[in-house]
């Protein structure tokens, strides 16, 4: 049994408002082991922590129970406090009487009663706590960035800048991501390529950075500081180190009618291609689904014209194994599919386009060389309707679309409208919106310029239906302010489509054992205080994989993630989580059941000799847990029939003691 101090926090009125803290501390004083009790306004404050430290010293406490907010909030704080008082940090238990008590219960009587029970459970548990010491593991001083968009690029550059090697894995043949497809950027209207491509070149030239383009992460094992990653480098049938990117092969390739992904299918590319002029790495890639040589062995033109001899039709997918200390996820976003949005006639008319397609249409390197021509007949559109919130902010029950706000649409739509009016003043531009959201530096000013200086017609209301009729698009919409139905004959309709996480994110999350929200955005370790870390140690989040973001936000998060990675990689050793499984060898019968359920492969078996009562030795197969690999989930503890496997910090006896205390 411990000598326990009980510290009840008022949390101002957050707890004290619904829980009689005095009554709680009084009720807990007779619990077994309790030798000191008090309550205080803010236990987490320095003054509060000092109370704990003093009490530990004065009363020789061996265990601490803090009745306060969630352990997810301040467990770490109070563990540090305990350490400062000379106590093992794991001799602290928190009774969550705020989030799970005072904040959810209304009346003082039941709140207080529950707080007392939660306190008793924590006391019962701490009575069985044992001092724990974290194990140490080395740190591999190399980072992996998954995704080569602006987020990944920025993260990689910052990490490399600090002197650590970084690998970028990008599924596309080039890095650059979505930003490379953009024309201008809000609110400054500078050209996206002009600010992005120098960074891409920096990446290419940085000797700390390796780019695995046209590659995917195949398998991730290990844990923080010691990830073991297999990267699949897909065969591009071009020797990357030899190809000069001259483009001769592309020019001569007879397969000309392959939809060009970079321009979102609005024009064509060849079977061998370089996505765009400033691609990094600037090497050609053969599309195996389109190349005749690869499909039926007939052609071989590119190989003939390549003076460098870089073409290699026999190339195979290559698997690279590398160890990393940290992994940054920067898998970005995609516009959602418009298949379910028949009302906008996206699939019926070429002249209903998404905003990203609009970017390509106005981009000088795009399919129309920057001239605003409508895709169907390459005529200049005179009436353009922009529709916002297509698939964003949908009702929770809606069968299509997303509940969340995609965040970037208001601003880019304002940008598009403004640019159209600027270049083609004869064009009428309507923007249909639910709300216009412009929080951000110089954002609202930008939007107001679109309305006030450029005469963009903003109409609060929804577009009900778009119907192609002849060469016009009949747009039926409501004007909520005027309270009337509108019928607009438009030449071009641009949809501000909701964005969603890239499809590769979910399998990746599974590999990383990182958690995701219901929309497949990666969950951060703490929404406010740890926004760039995943709850899985050693995994960091950069860019839109964590939530919709514009470029400045993405870049700042990318740098933040980089700084977290650097903070990790500068360490030589990591202290592990001491709350891990361990097998009682005297009870283990070596049946392998626990190893079968361990997600980390942390359990192995050895033959060990045990002294018998008659002084002979008996060899038995027993389980051993690798403390550096075990993450402490406890799956093995339940799989183990005999209870030989137990979890430190969450021992069966401790959980049973909590159950007993609660049910008493």
């Amino acid at each position: 049994m411990q000598r326990i101090g009980v510290f009840v926090c008022w949390c101002g009125s957050n707890i004290a408002g619904t829980v009689d803290v005095q009554a709680v501390s009084e009720a807990l004083k007779t619990e077994p082991g309790v030798v000191f009790f008090t309550n205080y306004q803010y236990m987490c404050s320095q003054a509060g922590q000092d109370i704990i430290i003093d009490a530990v010293k004065e009363h020789n406490l061996t265990g601490i129970v803090v009745c306060s907010c969630s352990p997810r909030m301040h467990e770490a704080t109070f563990r540090k406090t305990a350490a400062a008082a000379g106590l093992n940090p794991y001799m602290v238990e928190i009774a969550n009487i705020r989030e799970q008590c005072s904040w959810v219960h209304k009346d003082m009587a039941s709140g207080t009663e529950k707080a007392i029970i939660l306190g008793k459970a924590a006391i019962a548990k701490v009575n069985l706590n044992a001092p724990l010491t974290p194990g140490e593991s080395p740190v591999t001083k190399r980072a992996l960035v998954i995704g080569g968009g602006i987020a990944g690029i920025q993260t990689a550059l910052d990490i490399a800048d600090a002197g650590f090697p970084v690998d970028i894995v990008e599924t596309k043949p080039t890095i650059g991501g979505k930003m490379a497809q953009l024309d201008k950027t809000f609110p400054t209207l500078d050209c996206a390529a002009c600010i992005l491509t120098p960074k891409m070149v920096d990446v290419a030239q940085n000797d700390k950075i390796r780019i695995f383009s046209y590659s995917e992460v195949q398998e991730i094992k290990g844990f923080v500081g010691n990830f073991d990653v297999t990267i699949k480098k897909k065969a591009r049938f071009v020797k990357e180190e030899i190809c000069t990117g001259c483009g001769a092969c592309v020019e001569k390739c007879p397969m000309k009618k392959i939809p060009n992904e970079f321009n979102l299918g609005m024009d064509n590319r060849r079977a061998i291609y370089i996505p765009f002029a400033q691609a990094v790495p600037k090497v050609a890639t053969i599309d195996p689904s389109a190349c005749n040589m690869l499909k039926n062995g007939k052609c071989g033109v590119c190989s003939k014209v390549c003076t460098a001899g870089a073409i290699d039709y026999t190339q195979k997918d290559e698997f690279i194994n590398e160890k990393y200390g940290a992994i940054v996820v920067a898998t970005g976003f995609n516009p959602i599919s418009m298949d379910k949005f028949d009302e906008y006639a996206y699939n019926q008319s070429k002249d209903v386009i998404t905003s990203l397609e609009f970017e390509r249409l106005t981009n000088a390197a795009g399919p129309t060389q920057g001239k605003l021509l409508r895709p169907s007949d390459l005529e200049h559109p005179h009436t353009i309707v922009f529709v916002q919130c297509v698939g964003s902010r949908c009702a929770a029950c809606a069968e299509k679309g997303k509940e969340y706000c995609s965040k970037i649409c208001c601003m880019y739509t304002a940008k598009h409208a403004m640019l159209v009016r600027d270049k083609y003043p004869d064009t009428e531009v309507y923007v249909f919106y639910i709300d216009v959201r412009t929080p951000g530096k110089n954002f609202d000013e930008f939007y107001r310029r679109a309305v006030e200086e450029y005469g963009v017609k903003y109409i609060k209301g929804m577009v009900g239906k778009v119907t192609p009729e002849g060469n016009k698009l009949k747009v039926r919409a409501s004007d909520l302010i005027a309270g009337k139905q509108l019928n607009i004959d438009a030449d071009l309709v641009v949809l501000a489509v909701a964005i969603e996480p890239d499809k590769s994110a979910r399998p990746l999350a599974t590999m990383l054992t990182a958690s995701m929200d219901t929309n497949d955005f990666f969950t951060e370790a703490h929404p406010k205080l740890r926004p760039v870390e995943s709850p899985t140690a050693g995994v960091f989040l950069s860019g839109a994989c964590q939530g919709p973001k514009d470029i400045p936000e993405t870049v700042s998060q990318a740098s933040a993630a980089a700084s977290k990675v650097i903070g990790l990689l500068v360490k030589d050793k990591l202290k592990g989580n001491p709350c891990i499984a361990s097998a009682n060898e005297l009870m283990c019968n070596g049946c392998s059941t626990c190893a079968n359920v361990c997600p980390y492969g942390a359990i192995t078996y050895i033959d060990k000799e045990f002294p018998m009562f008659d002084r002979t030795m008996q060899t038995r197969r027993v389980a051993q847990v690798n403390p550096a690999v075990c993450q402490g989930c406890g799956a093995c503890t339940v799989a183990c029939m005999s209870g030989a496997m137990d979890l430190r910090g969450f021992a069966s006896s401790q959980i049973i003691a909590e159950v007993d205390a609660i049910c008493r």
């Binding site: 005297l586 009870m587 070596g590 008996q618 197969r621 029939m641 005999s642 209870g643």
Partner: protein
């Protein structure tokens, strides 16, 4: 009833013992009466010839003894296994409970084993002799000079009446002919109970479990129960308990016992066979087997050595706990 004669087994074992190919033989030894057969380790062929039996009362599953007996021997141990015993044999191997190299497994076809209690219920007490016939038994008691004829099928052990397989799934040598995996009706009784109302089920099990005297025979005979220390014997486990003090303790013991062997139980039926109180313990195990089959696809523990037990496995599309009862209703 048994088609393979005792002497076939005896000569096999004696020959191997005499040749030094095995160090000992694990078989069944003669008792006081015809029916009280005791598992026994024979070390010489003379012992075998004197006491070895193979008759219709060799219900005991010898596979669990391999765990302790192989440890004591330097050489090989010959063991006789009935079809159902071979499933336990595989399951024990899967769980690394003994070394395969130390065992010479001789598979014996089985026509089903007799339940002495059922026999006595039909033939009466005071049995002085039992003769096996082709179709059953000829029983003489001290109360009657004329023998009573009893049909073998009427006195089968529960596990034999609902035999799941006459096929041996593991052995080094097979004596006699191989049998088939059977379509048994072993889940009928489980279904009958499932069809009851919750109240009826509760009453049924209270009636059964209240007879429990916690003698641990079911656990100690079970080939799947080979823990170094059982949770129910371990004062630190939080579940230690020596007596069925309250109805809760009875339920706790039997639920957890069955849960611990869920997915590992081969349905060898030993638990019910040995229960001095005739509690149908196999029904608890079979409920788990049936559920596993329904929820996660057919699985027979011990059918294959090294197979992954359902409770240490999963699929992404597994049934949700809340859908369990919907599935059962189907």
């Amino acid at each position: 009833m048994q088609k393979v004669n005792r002497d076939v087994l005896l000569e096999k074992a004696a020959a191997m013992l005499d040749a030094g190919e095995v160090q000992a033989v694990l078989g069944w030894g003669a008792g006081e009466f015809a029916y009280d057969v005791t598992p026994r380790v024979f070390e010489t062929s003379d012992e075998l010839r004197a006491d070895f039996v193979w008759n219709d009362f060799c219900g005991a599953n010898l596979s669990k003894y391999l765990v302790s007996k192989t440890k004591k021997l330097e050489g090989k141990l010959l063991v006789f296994l009935k079809p159902c015993d071979t499933y336990s044999f595989n399951q024990l191997l899967t769980e690394h409970r003994f070394e395969r190299e130390k065992v010479y497994a001789v598979a014996v076809p089985c026509e089903g084993m007799a339940d002495v209690q059922k026999l006595k219920a039909l033939a009466g007490d005071g049995i002085s002799s039992i003769e096996s016939t082709d179709s059953g038994f000829s029983v003489t008691t001290i109360y009657d000079d004329a023998p009573v004829e009893v049909k073998g099928a009427d006195v089968l052990l529960e596990k034999c009446a609902n035999c799941k397989s006459r096929k041996h799934v593991a052995y080094d040598e097979l004596l006699g002919d191989e049998g088939e995996v059977l379509d048994s009706n072993r889940f009928d009784e489980v279904e009958r109970i499932e069809a009851m109302t919750s109240e009826e089920r509760f009453a049924f099990w209270q009636g059964e479990l209240s007879r429990c005297i916690r003698c641990n025979a079911c656990r100690d005979v079970c080939p799947a129960c080979t823990c170094e220390k059982c949770v129910f014997d371990n004062p630190n486990s939080g579940a230690e308990n020596k007596a069925p003090t309250t109805s809760f303790e009875e339920q706790m013991f039997h639920v957890i016992r069955a849960f611990h062997v869920a997915g590992r139980c081969t349905d060898c039926g030993e638990c019910s066979r040995v229960c001095p109180q005739n509690i149908p313990l196999h029904l608890l195990n079979r409920k788990f087997i049936k559920d596993i089959n329904t929820f996660y696809g057919e699985y027979q523990a011990g059918a294959e050595e090294g197979s992954r037990a359902p409770l240490v496995d999963y699929t992404l599309e597994d049934l949700e706990a809340e859908d369990v009862f919907k599935k059962e209703a189907e």
